[in-house]
């Protein structure tokens, strides 16, 4: 019964009649043991979904802000097994969807099945693995994710062809992570006409799965622009910057500033 509930946490959230705010942070940053506190604070102040970043030495798709947070987290001593220890019992106090976001190599070293099993045990609902391509996922890992009730989230970008978007829509289960522009994380401020057209173009495809926009959302204005045609938006680098400046204090103020 609990397993069934877990499987549906992301689905339930997506069915709510509101625009969703998802926040990314890097586990082990700014302090090694901040993970649980940050998650609890984010939920307490109305965040809908959380992406917990598993730090990696070589985060290819990330800009300087998230790179720096990953380096610090690793220097603080964060590693995969420790993150799972920290998350043990998190479901006693937190009920919003939790997604683990990380690069594939640390998962491969942990053992992908052991990793998925552990995710299930601590109550993780989904995975975002930027460097695990769709075809490899489908061939080698889809069955594992399903067995452990994990929703794997795929990315699309402004360069993704319609045919590929539809392929990804078919392979998706929860939502589609819509990368706002051709960039690494934290690279831009604000959205221009080009992004607006891209958001509208994707909306016009009438995909089966809702889209949540990430990359380039840093404040109330960009959040509003991003969610106009989509189900929600993800903030990463801007929140990391907040943590850098304020530690785990004033998370409420940061969230209030968004929506």
């Amino acid at each position: 019964m609990t397993k069934l509930k877990r499987m549906n946490r992301i689905h339930h959230k997506l069915q709510e009649d509101k625009k969703l705010l998802s926040i990314y942070f890097t586990a082990g940053y700014p302090q090694l043991n901040d993970t649980v506190k940050i998650i609890q604070e984010l939920e307490a102040h109305g965040v809908d979904m959380i992406e917990i970043g598993l730090p990696f030495s070589d985060p290819l798709a990330d800009g300087p802000t998230i790179q720096q947070s990953s380096t610090t987290a690793l220097n603080n001593g964060m590693h995969t097994a420790l993150l799972f220890e920290q998350l043990q019992g998190i479901r006693d106090s937190v009920s919003i969807p939790l997604i683990l976001m990380g690069y594939f190599n640390p998962m491969l070293q942990y053992g992908v099945e052991a990793f998925c099993k552990k995710c299930n045990e601590v109550g993780i609902d989904g995975l975002i693995i930027p460097d695990l391509p769709l075809d490899v996922y489908q061939k080698d890992y889809e069955a594992l994710c399903k067995r452990y009730g994990l929703i794997n989230v795929f990315l699309i970008t402004p360069q993704t062809s319609e045919q590929r978007i539809r392929e990804i829509d078919t392979a998706s289960e929860g939502f589609i992570y819509m990368v706002s522009s051709a960039s690494v994380t934290g690279a831009q401020e604000g959205f221009g006409e080009e992004q607006k057209r891209y958001f509208e173009r994707v909306a016009s495809l009438e995909l089966v799965h809702p889209q949540i926009v990430g990359f380039g959302i840093s404040n109330a204005q960009t959040f509003q622009q991003a969610v106009q045609n989509t189900k929600g938006a993800i903030i990463g680098s801007a929140f990391i910057k907040h943590l850098t400046q304020n530690g785990t204090n004033n998370i409420a103020d940061f969230i209030k500033g968004i929506c």
Partner: protein, 394 residues
């Protein structure tokens, strides 16, 4: 027939593939769909061959190293890639890829470089073609390879420091990949070795395969046989080795010897011997052997040779190692430096320190007098003079 070449999905055995973020999918997919077709076009081949001949100076000689042969009581030939324009084999690949970039309609080139050899080779072909060039180089490497930085600038390239991570080759590669994510439409990324996502390892190997094609022709002329008993090359990422092995991969009569940098010793904690120290993992979009922590964080290798201190190895070489097709030997800094000095004094050729590692195998491994060994002399030692001077207090 058993083949050691890439399969249609981009794998060498269990290694290879394209583990890339979706942002890079359109670029690598475009390349994957087109590279074989473009390389097969007559006009492409003609232009490539012409530039290799008139601009690079190919074919490079296959030289019988008499005094070295006498010393080690076996027949040693040197494939003189050190005589290529820019001083190393790297330019074979950059010529090929700049022509590829033009065919794909790209008007901006990015590259990564460690010691600066690939950066110089890329800046060179960009100057030749009048295409804008940005080279990423680790901040630490920029400081220790000043002459190559100056060369790239003189050739009109912009050298951007990689400030992230360990600020060396692997981070320069990360920065180049990030640049490609940020500039997906107009930019081609010229990777310098047989690493990265499919189709790069195969494409770069094909451009470098001119090395083994020439070895076959030249050996036939000189010895009346196309195949040596052994072909030896140093391996960092492994592009000169891939080129030297290419046409012998599926011929079991030819022994393949790969020489890695042991640094201060395999167990010293300061090494770049990926086959000995690496575990299977993902680096720069490829599944291969790489040096990493038990938690899957990529570690920083060490070698006195800047061209060999890459934490991974091309997926072809990982497969050659795992399958047993290739014999892997690791050579320490000291062994390499002494071998470099010896070749200089026996043959009048100062090799790049990378190549000096390959020469050191004769102290490790005996060959019979009638056996014919080809060493790929991948680069010349000018760039390494400061290191040689410091080491030998010249």
């Amino acid at each position: 027939m058993k083949t050691y070449h890439v399969d249609e999905k981009g794998y060498y055995g269990e290694f290879g593939g394209a583990f890339i973020p979706e942002m890079l999918y359109p670029n690598t997919e475009e390349l994957r769909q087109q590279y074989l077709h473009i390389m097969g076009e007559t006009s492409f081949q003609e232009e490539f061959d012409q530039l290799l001949k008139d601009y690079v100076g190919r074919p490079t000689p296959l030289y019988f190293a008499g005094r070295l042969s006498e010393k080690y009581q076996t027949k040693i030939y040197l494939k003189r890639e050190d005589l290529c324009h820019t001083g190393a084999h790297k330019v074979n690949n950059t010529i090929g890829q700049i022509l590829m970039a033009k065919k794909l309609g790209k008007n901006r080139i990015i590259a990564e470089t460690g010691a600066g050899q690939h950066g110089v080779a890329t800046a060179t072909v960009c100057a030749l073609m009048g295409i804008k060039c940005v080279v990423y180089m680790g901040e630490i490497d920029i400081a220790r390879q000043a002459p190559n930085v100056a060369r790239m600038k003189m050739l009109g390239a912009e050298v951007r420091p990689a400030l992230s991570g360990s600020r060396t080759l692997k981070d320069a590669t990360n920065e180049a990949i990030r640049d490609w994510i940020n500039n997906p439409v107009d930019t081609h990324y010229i990777i310098g070795s047989v690493v990265g996502p499919h189709p790069y390892p195969d494409m770069v190997a094909r451009f470098q395969s001119v090395i083994s094609a020439e070895i076959k022709t030249q050996l036939l002329e000189k010895e009346g046989r196309e195949n040596p008993d052994y072909v030896v090359a140093c391996v960092g990422g492994g592009s000169n080795a891939a080129g030297a092995y290419y046409h012998f991969l599926d011929n079991a009569d030819v022994g393949i010897i790969a020489v890695e940098a042991a640094g201060k010793g395999i167990d010293s904690g300061e090494s770049a011997a990926t086959s000995a120290l690496g575990k299977i993992g993902i680096i720069h979009g490829s599944k291969t052997l790489l040096m990493q922590t038990s938690d899957g964080q990529i570690t920083e290798p060490y070698s006195i040779s800047a061209g060999l201190d890459y934490p991974g190895v091309g997926p072809l070489h990982a497969h050659l190692y795992r399958s047993g097709r290739g014999e892997f030997i690791s050579i320490t800094d000291d062994e390499a430096m002494n071998a470099g000095l010896q070749v200089s004094q026996l043959e009048g050729i100062i090799p790049a320190i990378e190549t000096s590692h390959a020469f050191a195998i004769f102290e490790h491994r005996k060959f019979r007098p009638e056996e014919l060994v080809v060493i790929n002399l991948s680069g010349r030692g000018d760039k390494d003079l400061d290191t040689y001077i410091d080491y030998f207090e010249l």
